[in-house]
């Protein structure tokens, strides 16, 4: 087995094409396993994975948990709502206590940027980022890439448009790094209060304020979830206006290619960033994304654990 160059998965910025390719290729194999009647492999037997979720998450945590179980790992869930964190324990103490119980891999989600790296600096465990602040959500981007490759054959030369709250989106950031590394052309589009102003370091992508132009040549459109808090914070006037200007609707898709893939990281605000008939329509690959999420996470865990075993 070829090994990953990375020892942990913090994000996709700076991750090589070799590593992304390796993860996607492995994920394709795991995807096949997931279609079998017996979906379990013994790859991580004897290893313990802790899902350390400081932010609420159902989908990502369930997806990781399934991936871990299908790799035969022992899995422990640790959420901040029922943990010692509520009692004032620091992040480092939480980690060291868990580590003292001899765990091998930590899957972490936290509101703070860079928490996965911080944990890696303070522990011997393999760290996998399941979302840190608005920074990165690498496994979501990897499953997005896997889905596009599955449907379109390759990412190389494909046009991927991401629409919505780019400024606060870890999904958008991971995707822009990962997809550009794999040769896709990425266009980002959103209201001016929801896109970053300083994009010098994100110069391999196209920034477009006109959503019709942004989707025109797209092979895939990723609609981002719009958080309700954005209205409370006066970043947008209303959900209604957002839907009418940046929502993925039939009218908008008249400007796009017929077979454009419609994607969403979930959970969807139907009728806001994505109309129901589009979400459930023939171009939608949203449920494929969910399935691919398990395969991608299996690949990430398997390859990172394998790297450690071979070290």
């Amino acid at each position: 087995m070829s090994a990953l160059e990375i020892k942990h998965l913090f994000g996709l910025r700076g991750v090589s094409k070799h590593d992304i390719r390796l993860i996607l290729d492995n994920a394709k194999q795991f995807r096949e396993i997931l279609e079998r009647p017996v979906k379990k492999v013994p790859s991580l037997r004897g290893m313990t994975v802790v899902n350390l979720f400081f932010e609420n998450s159902t989908r990502t945590r369930t997806s990781f948990e399934l991936a871990e179980k299908r790799l035969s790992a022992d899995t422990v869930n640790f959420t901040s709502s029922n943990s010692s964190v509520k009692k004032g324990e620091t992040l480092v103490d939480t980690l060291r206590n868990i580590e003292a119980m001899k765990i091998d891999i930590v899957v972490v989600r936290h509101k703070g940027t860079g928490v996965p790296k911080f944990l890696a600096d303070n522990s011997d465990a393999i760290i996998v980022n399941a979302g840190d602040g608005a920074h990165e959500h690498p496994t979501q981007a990897l499953l997005d890439m896997l889905t596009i490759e599955e449907k379109l054959g390759t990412l190389e030369g494909k046009n991927v448009t991401i629409v919505g709250d780019i400024r606060h989106s870890r999904v958008a950031r991971s995707n822009l790094w990962g997809m550009t590394t794999m040769g896709a052309h990425v266009t980002l589009c959103g209201p001016s209060t929801l896109v970053p102003r300083n994009t010098e370091l994100m110069d391999k992508v196209t920034w477009e304020s006109d959503v019709k132009k942004a989707v025109k040549n797209a092979d895939a459109i990723i609609a981002l979830r719009l958080q309700k808090e954005r209205m409370d914070d006066a970043l947008l006037p209303s959900m209604r206006e957002y839907r009418n200007t940046f929502g993925i609707t039939h009218e908008l898709l008249e400007c796009a290619k017929d077979k454009v893939l419609i994607m969403h990281p979930g959970p969807i605000n139907r009728g806001v960033e994505l109309d129901s008939e589009i979400a459930d329509g023939e171009n939608s690959v949203i449920l494929n994304q969910v399935t691919n999420g398990v395969a991608v996470r299996m690949a990430v865990l398997y390859l990172l654990a394998g790297g450690r075993a071979n070290a």
């Binding site: 509101k111 703070g112 940027t113 608005a134 990165e136 606060h168 870890r170 300083n198 370091l201 994100m202």
Partner: protein, 415 residues
Amino acid sequence: MPNMVLNNVRPFVDGKFGEPTKMCLVDGKWADSAPEGTPEFDAKGALALPALFGLGLDFKEPLRDDIYTFKDGVSAMRRGGFFGGLYESSANPIDDSQKLTAMQQLASKSGLEFAFLGAFSMGYQCKDLAEMMELAQGGAVGFGDGNQDASRTRFLRLAMEYGSMTGKRFFFMPLDDSLRHHGLVHEGCYSDTLGMKGIPRIAETIAAFRILEMARFLKVPVHFKQVSCGETLKLVETARAQGVDVTCDVDIYHLLLDDSCLFDLDSHCNVPMPFRSAEDREALWKGLESETVKAISVNHDPVLRQDKEVNFEDAVPGAVSLEVALGAIWKPLSGRLGAARAVELLSTAPAQLAGVEPAALRKGGQASLVLLDQDRPTKVVPAMFAGKTRNTPLLGKELPSSIVASYINGVWTEV
């Protein structure tokens, strides 16, 4: 007072460092000779600078003496070569004369020179005026509300208007809280790449402009602490040209670091005034050259390890600097601006700003000095620091120069 004979030392006299010579330090003064048996120290060609003056000291005592004490701070000052400092605590607002007296009593035992800023509002709340007349009579050299944003404009007007009777300067760290909006870092390409909430430059310039307009209107002298961007310096220059009495300082770390350090996500880089872009950093250096900037500040702000050993966004902002400031800044500063201006920015001007007689080296005069081996690098390690804090972005890094010892008001401290 202990005496000391320094051999092979290059004292800073009349604006320059002389050839290696012998200095007899007797009873805190530079004497012609020393009594027989006085210990000797081979300075090995080290520079003897007039001891420094630190703008922005916060030793946390009494309310947060679990973090740091006045004694810790004094020890840090001696290690770093500081003979005095301007004290303003975020934890302990000096908002009445009893508190001022208590701090002055603490300081009086230290053997160092302290000046104190009084608060202009009770508890830094921008609600009730502090008794500024009494504070001024008690010895407060100016007024400031810590690093709080004075965005309640009417209150600011009344505070400055009332305080104008004292003739004292008002000190502000200009940062508009509303525009800051929970941001911790400079709003720029690094924060946007990392998805971190940023503080735009306009949070500083709008606050600065509001204060400058108030200073112009009320004819009150003001000072901006820790200016971090070039646009603020332009506002200062314009206001000054129009007759406003405005001074400003830049923080030592802002001259050394910019927001590119954010990619390391080191919580030690979480400081009250964010490190801005490389262009801003260069503008601050130009501000030193043009003399728009009056002085370099240290803003010594101890934070406990457990409050820094967390991820960046959960860390308590602040950095200690007294022990590392000179070793870090001397070479770049004297290299770019010359030794005389470097001494002025680190020692003379900060003391003048606080109304304290600056240290100077003259035969026969008081001799508070710091010995610096400017060409011997030193690694920043926890043992360098007084107290139990070591929260500096330079921890583990190498400084271009090393402090060898200090002799301040007759106390010899070898580092």
